[in-house]
């Protein structure tokens, strides 16, 4: 780029890692005369393989955004709220940290749970030093991810239980038929985006068929071979009908897989729970050869029966598989057609295509190992599971993969990298799933970088307890994140909690905009002493913060291994990559790296030893590299120990600063681990049934009327989400969708990305309404309209009349419409979708704490 004639005294390419979304792709940054002039993908990194998405390429304009917050600020106006001018006063770092220390110290002595800790995933490395390590050392359980409804709670729960992973991705290297439910894998922001985009192109180029189920003709549907526009929240009905067709009409299912790798043969009693052996307590199956019940792992077991009812211990019991088959029978294609608006014939055809594409019984040899070959994958995300019927819907979709055996084998739906044997020299990082006494799959690592990690996996589930935590993760102890403090903090007593939060530390998240209706959020948190650490004085800082601390952006800071081996790597074969994120330029002004601030605060709050012990657990550090709890380290020294602890004395921080990435080959036993284990994934979630009953008891005792227990079921099921239910006067459903050039609401402040939306892309800053619907309402292209939610607020925006959206749906991209003074560039751009979302229990799936991310609305001209 540099063609100018100025003297060039420095011209360097520095390896690092992106952080403009949660994917952390490998980058190389070009620095000339101390200025970042270009960001490219790092071809040496398996995370992107030299390619970047538009957001990553545009990172320069985040670094040099003149609207960034540059020094600590203190609110002088005691009034808080949306639109209130906080009357910021510039203070020094010492003053700021003194104020914070004083408040947090008091709270910690009193009850540490009175501190809420929230954050958002794009700055994932420092976030987890905060959320996973510092928070735990401080001693509060009240953490929540305030990417809010954007997160995939139900999917994460199923990824953990069926795939031993945090997330899922299809194996595009071998897949021939991809069925996408409300997701943009390989087309837009999704796990391992930059690599998956390359694989997607390759797969489509060689003829993989893509079917996209989505109310909106978005990036994925644009490229799909077939687009199935259904009503939002009805995905589960479609999946159930497909299950019914596969199991009951076409007889397409993978019996050997179901016998061996699921609990399909486990016998279920009349109480809905496993029938267990009296002595060992282990689940019982029916031996079809000897016609008698046996423990599932009995060496004498010849052939566990997949079907049939049997009399065991005086009661009639049935296989889980039979229960599943029966439970989906009501879902005829016609029944699903009535709910989804898709033609029944199409549903029949898609089910058959998918079932046949799975090539049940076939195998493939990879790296000399013969593996089951199931080149048909399903994948789903927010569009499908972002509803208050999340659990039943997600389970139905997942079971499509399970019944045809297309799970964690070549070509299928895969958990994202649940097995990691580590670098060949050191065996680090390391994690792999285990098997519990019932034969079920247990993730090797849930939250953390290497075993043991700091957070237990969702399975085996802990027992529900009467809530003590505002995020209710003791009452429902498996969702990965929760927005519930927004609800509980205003009325803790109704949840049996005897305190209110007093402080909020909010890192890198704009929770006033990201959770849902902003008034609800502000109302819940306005009395809290709030510290925001962010790049801008955003809506949350403006409405809530007492102190704002200037964060570094990813081009200004050092993050050791900013890679989550789980979901940042693509699935299937390939390389493992360990990266570094290093400062390309020193932090300008008084910006400081959050991890260093946390270290400083742990010291000031006198829990540095606990913090360092937690760091050891999180990063799996062992002597001699484990941190000495009593010693004091700089952040650089800690990073050096993490690298050396993982990769040996020679590969410390300096090595990584120079080389940027360390690669090693994934083994076939890592990539396609399932056939190498005896672990079973549940097709029957017995424990949801069992724990659900305990939760119900507590909920009944508390008298929580809005708490819906109807979704705590072991088998897939469907009921309409709130937004799908007819409401007088509200004739449409509003959905949000994602585009490849924005992350959440943050990138609306990036001028290059804003330009894409504003100038060269026709839809994303507008409210998409179907031509026919618009005509009926007398709305024309470009008209200003209100979209008013039946249960929350209303938003204003300009209409784009399109064909590519379901006639009963209005589509809004992401979450724009910023209003904060501190983000003047983003101000007013796009449409603030989240204002439409009610934050309450009624709109929440209580199994997974998933909110209904669409809304029942009406649309009218301003």
């Amino acid at each position: 780029m540099v063609k100018t004639t100025t003297e060039i005294w420095e011209d360097e390419w520095i390896p690092s890692a992106c952080s403009i979304c949660y994917n952390q792709c490998g980058i190389k940054v070009h620095r000339v005369n101390g200025v970042v002039v270009k960001i490219e993908g790092n071809p040496d990194s398996a995370l992107g393989m030299g390619r970047l998405c538009p957001r990553g390429l545009a990172g320069i304009q985040m670094l040099y955004d003149p609207h960034r917050v540059n020094h600590p600020l203190r609110r002088t106006n005691p009034e808080k709220g949306i639109g209130v001018d906080p009357q910021w006063e510039r203070i020094s770092w010492d003053e700021a940290l003194d104020i914070i220390t004083e408040r947090l110290s008091k709270i910690r002595q009193d009850n540490p749970h009175k501190l809420l800790f929230s954050g958002c995933v794009p700055s994932i490395a420092p976030l987890f030093v905060g959320l996973g390590v510092w928070r735990a050392a401080y001693g509060t359980a009240n953490a929540f991810l305030s990417d809010g409804h954007q997160c995939g709670n139900a999917e994460h729960l199923l990824a953990g239980t069926l795939h031993a992973a945090t997330t899922t991705n299809p194996d595009l290297a071998y897949c021939n038929y991809l069925l996408i439910f409300g997701c943009h894998v390989g087309f837009s922001g999704y796990y391992a985006y930059t690599t998956m985009a390359q694989r997607m192109a390759e797969a489509r180029s060689r003829g993989m068929r893509v079917v996209v189920v989505d109310p909106m003709m978005n990036t994925a549907a644009e490229k799909a071979d077939e687009w199935l526009p259904l009503l939002p929240g009805s995905d589960g009905a479609l999946a159930l009908a497909m299950l019914n067709l596969l199991l009951n009409e076409y007889g397409i299912y993978d019996a050997p897989y179901l016998r061996e790798h699921t609990n399909a043969t486990y016998l279920i009693g009349e109480d809905g729970l496993y029938v267990r052996d009296g002595a060992s307590g282990k689940p019982i199956v029916w031996d079809a050869v000897s016609s008698m019940p046996r423990v599932f792992d009995d060496p004498l077991l010849k052939e566990p029966a997949l079907e049939g009812s049997h009399k065991v211990g005086g009661q009639w019991v049935r296989t889980a598989f039979d229960m599943l088959r029966d439970s989906v029978r009501e879902w005829t294609p016609e029944a699903a057609a009535a709910v989804t608006t898709l033609p029944a014939d199409t549903i029949r055809r898609i089910a058959r295509e998918f079932g046949e594409a799975a090539r049940i019984g076939s195998t493939i040899v990879i790296d000399g190992k013969e593996l089951p070959y199931r080149p048909a994958a399903v994948i789903y995300f927010k569009g499908a599971h972002g509803h208050d019927n999340a659990w039943g819907t997600s389970l139905a979709i997942e079971l499509l993969a399970e019944v045809v055996g297309a799970s964690n084998v070549p070509g299928s739906l895969m958990g994202c990298n649940p097995v990691n044997f580590g670098h060949p020299d050191t065996g680090m990082p390391h994690y792999q799933p285990t098997v519990d006494k019932d034969g079920m799959l247990v993730p090797g690592l849930w939250f953390g970088m290497s075993q043991p990690g700091t957070t237990p996996p969702p399975f085996p589930p802990r027992d529900p307890r009467k809530p003590r935590f505002l995020n209710l993760i003791d009452l429902v102890p498996w969702p990965i994140s929760t927005f519930l403090p927004v609800i509980t903090n205003t009325q803790p007593e109704s949840f049996g909690i005897d305190y209110k939060a007093e402080a909020l530390v909010n890192y890198g998240s704009n929770l006033v905009m990201s959770l849902g209706n902003p008034e609800t959020t502000v109302n819940a948190f306005k009395d809290l002493f709030t510290v925001c650490i962010n790049l801008w004085v955003d809506e949350t800082a403006e409405a809530l913060a007492d102190i704002v601390l200037p964060d570094t952006c990813y081009l200004e800071r050092l993050d050791p291994v900013p890679v989550w081996y789980h979901h940042h790597h693509p699935v299937g074969m390939g390389d493992w990559t360990c990266q570094i994120r290093q400062p390309i330029v020193p932090p300008a002004h008084e910006r400081r790296h959050f991890s260093e601030v946390l270290l400083d605060l742990a010291n000031r709050l006198d829990f540095l030893p606990d913090f360092q012990v937690m760091l050891n657990l999180f990063y799996g550090l062992k002597p001699p590299y484990a941190l000495d709890p009593e010693a004091e380290y700089t952040w650089e020294e800690i990073c050096d120990r993490i690298y050396k602890g993982w990769f040996g004395e020679k590969r410390g921080l300096e090595w990584f600063k120079e080389h940027g990435v360390l690669n090693w080959k994934k083994q076939v036993e890592e990539a396609y681990w399932k056939p190498f284990t005896h672990a079973r994934g549940p097709i029957y979630f017995e424990w949801i049934e069992e724990k659900g009953r305990k939760i119900k008891k507590i909920v009944d005792e508390l008298g929580l009327e809005d708490w819906d227990m109807s979704t705590f079921k072991a088998l897939p099921h469907w009921r309409p989400c709130q937004a799908l239910q007819p409401r007088e006067g509200y004739d449409l459903q509003a959905i949000y969708y994602r585009v490849p050039f924005h992350t959440f609401s943050m990138t609306y402040e990036n001028p290059w990305l804003d330009e894409v939306s504003r100038l060269t892309e026709p839809y994303s800053y507008f409210i998409s309404i179907n031509t026919e619907t618009a005509r009926r309402k007398g709305i024309k292209d470009g008209d200003e309209v209100w979209v008013e939610s039946a249960d929350a607020g209303r938003v204003r925006g300009q209409v784009k009349v399109v064909e590519g959206v379901h006639p009963q749906v209005v589509g809004i991209a992401h979450n724009g419409g910023h209003w904060a003074r501190g983000m003047p560039f983003a101000k007013g751009k796009g449409v603030f979708f989240n204002a439409l979302l009610a934050l309450d229990l009624k709109h929440t799936d209580m199994v997974s704490f998933t909110m209904d991310c669409d809304a029942r609305v009406k649309v009218y001209k301003t």
Binding site: E222, E755, R758, L759, T760, E761, P762
Partner: protein, 304 residues
Amino acid sequence: MAIWEDPFQKLSEDLKTTLRPQREWVAGRGLFLLLGHFLSGAGAGTWLFSIYYGLAAGLMLSLGVVALGGVAHLLFLGRFGRAWRIVRQPHKSWISRGLLSMALFLVCGTAYLLLERIGAVSGALGGVLLLLSLVGMAGILLYKGFVYAVSRAIPFWNTPLLPALYIAYGVRGGAAILLVAAALGVGGVELSSLEFIKLWVVVSSAVLVLIYLAGMSSSGVASRRSVSQLLGLRGSASLAFYLGVMLLGLVVPIGMGLFSHYGTVLPWVLGLVGVSSLIGDFYVKYCVARAGIYLPLSGEFPAR
């Protein structure tokens, strides 16, 4: 869009449209270019009639108007100081040809006028200068239409009718200027025959406009959109078209022309008619530029 608005915003927003209008040659400083086209054309037309009628004042006026047009051209340029470079490519670029024509016309015309002042115009030199000035004049009348007509990117412009139309309007503009001048008492020549010629040209212009629009509305999608910009009630140039081109530029001149043919019209009324047709002349240029829509960049690539 306000007539003087910086086209930047709109230019950028056009990028997402399939039928993208051209704006550089019509909005913001683009108006200088249209003004230049208008003035140089009318000025050249004035020369024609002034020679024909032997109007010294007309010749002077013509030079002045063309010079003004030239200045307007230059004001439009992004780099005014490099304007001389425009003459470099007469073998292929109509803009080069136009500028050279203008230069030739201004130099020879001025020289001719000076000779005329000193009464030496009847010599061989006078003849050569007259001839060269007429060549320059013809170039000026011709080039504008061709500047537009060679652009295959904008189908609405890409027609031989456009040069014909611009020549007609240039000639008519010349007549109109002289009528205005006469009304203001400049020139002092009986112009009744001029009005007749002008009427004839106006009627032919009207016919040309109709043929042009009819032809364009039955061709491709881009030129149909162009036509609808002019004729459609919500078209971006429909007001300019109906009021400027049709009413002031054609209906008034034709009506008054017919009227003057059968009755007596006061000179100042003829002057007003001249002004009216000059406005019409400008708006023709404006409307043609405003309705310029690029060929769509799609169609031949089915999505799958």
